[in-house]
């Protein structure tokens, strides 16, 4: 294994190397384009606009809220999918991972049909309380949770599957109750995956656009997150759109760096 890797040092064969190079270039060139067109001199003025801080704050708060909800519901869901043997579990798994591949706009339409004021559940909520979800910050969080939670569920479920069940059984034979086993044995075992899943979920929530604009609409300070402001600014002020994109790019790079150190640590644990 190590011997082969050393031989590969001289370079990849061209049928692999050329497409690899093209692939890497394809992924990097748009970023270069963004940086090259960036209005550097006007940047301080564009980014100190209170509207930018407002959109950024809303994005960070709603993505974090979506991640917390995703963890509260997603970790138990992942455990059930990994450990419970009941007919239909596989079908449930297939269905809840649907938002991973579903176009987010379709997710937004589906959310309107379910939680809108004329929706499947939303109509009762509206009748009882006069409250309707669309066009509120809660709707942004809901849309982001819908799209991002499956990332966390899938990541954590894999870890629950891989975790050593003998340790659970050992704890149980020593008299620990099932909830204690979960809290003190199983959960710490999958800790690194929970962190990785949460970061993925948060990053996906931060970038959410389609479901948000469809379900939550667009209003500055209430539902206009960073991706929405980038898209809408492009129509009137491309420089502002590029400046906003740079902020999101910076946040994404920060997440990658944070993940990398986390994963290195995780590699040490497992």
């Amino acid at each position: 294994m190590t011997h082969r890797r050393r031989r590969g040092h001289h370079g990849a064969p061209w049928p692999l190397g050329l497409p690899a190079l093209a692939g890497a270039a394809f992924l990097l060139v748009p970023l270069v384009g963004l940086l090259q067109r960036a209005p550097w001199s006007a940047l301080p003025q564009l980014l100190t606009d209170p509207a930018v801080a407002q959109a950024l704050r809303l994005s960070l708060v709603s993505a974090t809220a979506a991640t917390l909800i995703g963890m509260a519901l997603g970790i138990p869901l992942a455990w059930v999918l990994a450990r419970v043997r009941l007919p239909g579990v596989n079908l449930v798994r297939a269905l809840i991972t649907l938002p991973l591949v579903l176009p987010p706009v379709v997710g937004g339409v589906a959310l309107l049909m379910a939680f809108g004021r004329r929706g499947l559940l939303g109509q009762y909520l509206y009748e009882w309380s006069g409250f309707s979800l669309p066009f509120t910050t809660a709707a942004v969080v809901l849309a982001e949770t819908f799209v991002a939670m499956p990332f966390l569920v899938i990541t954590v479920e894999g870890a629950f599957r891989g975790a050593d069940r003998d340790l659970d059984e050992a704890a149980a034979t020593l008299g620990a109750r099932r909830m204690t086993v979960f809290r003190r044995v199983t959960l710490p075992l999958v800790g690194p995956s929970v962190v990785a899943g949460a970061v993925l979920c948060w990053a996906r929530a931060l970038g959410e656009f389609g479901a948000t604009i469809t379900f939550a609409g667009n209003f500055p300070g209430r539902t206009q997150t960073m991706p929405l402001s980038v898209y809408l600014a492009l129509e009137s002020n491309p420089d502002a759109a590029i400046a906003l994109s740079l902020v999101l790019l910076l946040v994404s790079v920060a997440v990658l760096v944070a993940m990398r150190t986390r994963w290195l640590r995780a590699g040490g644990v497992s």
């Binding site: 004021r117 609409g217 667009n218």
Partner: protein, 263 residues
């Protein structure tokens, strides 16, 4: 597969021959002749304001029928966004804008040839078919608790709606500023908002999915729709013919049926 491939190759070869011969004949006559020649044929791409969706789709079909061998493809969206795309080099042949401002942006960048007004539109209040908030006048939109959707301010329908409210001396706080007029209409017809301010033509196009409430003419604002062929048009001859068709009596018949006024 190989048969299809050969067919594609044959078509490509034919196109090449045509293009070369067109260049050959037009070269001595002057540099203004487009490479596709003066024949009205082939495909054109029309960038048009979202509010033109129904009327231009119908116009496109009629144009194709009147000129066999042509195909009109549309890109409907907010005029501001379309203008930006054109100025960024999108391969469009014709631009039909819901505001002179966005057409002027394209013209100022040197991309539009002789914009001509072809229609005018007015605003109207659209409410869900059952009018849940019992909206009957423009001032009802300013009441608290009434959910209103508008176009975002940089889109023509947003600018015009803001002008209407200013004329009426009203302060309306919307729940959402949508990307284009059709998104406003969608939120109204789904019943998620109590009212939206859209064009007269949109209410008409939506049929019985929404109910229209007229805005008094002393506060309503008329907006002009200009159309132009684009300098970088890949198919200038057909683009010019399409613009002429829109400006013809056949074109204005379709537009007035959709509720547009004469420019």
């Amino acid at each position: 597969m190989s048969l299809a491939g050969r067919r594609v190759a044959t078509v490509l070869a034919a196109v090449l021959v045509l293009a070369v011969s067109a260049c050959g004949t037009s070269a001595p006559s002057g540099r203004s002749a487009p490479p596709s020649g003066h024949r009205i044929t082939g495909q054109i791409t029309v960038f048009a304001a979202a509010s033109l969706t129904e009327s231009f789709t119908a116009l496109g079909k009629q144009f194709e029928a009147a000129h066999p061998g042509t195909m009109v493809t549309f890109n409907f969206g907010p005029s501001s966004g379309l203008a930006e795309q054109i100025n960024q080099g999108a391969p469009a042949d014709v631009f039909a804008s819901a505001s002179t401002k966005n057409m002027d942006q394209v013209k100022a960048a040197g991309n539009a040839i002789d914009p001509t007004p072809f229609a005018a539109n007015m605003m109207e209040i659209a409410v869900p078919a059952d009018n849940p908030a019992k909206i009957s006048t423009l001032s009802d939109l300013a009441a608290s608790g009434v959910k209103v959707a508008l176009c975002q301010p940089q889109v023509p329908c947003g600018t015009v709606a803001a002008a209407v409210f200013e004329n009426a001396g009203l302060t309306v706080t919307p729940v959402s500023l949508e990307a284009d007029v059709k998104s406003v209409l969608a939120k109204v017809s789904l019943g998620e908002v109590d009212a939206g301010v859209v064009y007269v033509t949109d209410v008409k196009a939506a049929g019985d999915k929404v109910q229209g409430i007229e805005i008094p003419s002393d506060v309503n604002v008329s907006t002009a729709y200009p159309i132009a062929t684009l300098k970088a048009a890949p198919n200038a001859a057909t683009a010019t013919a399409f613009v002429r068709y829109v400006l013809s009596s056949a074109g204005s018949a379709v537009l007035s049926q959709a509720g547009f006024a004469k420019p």
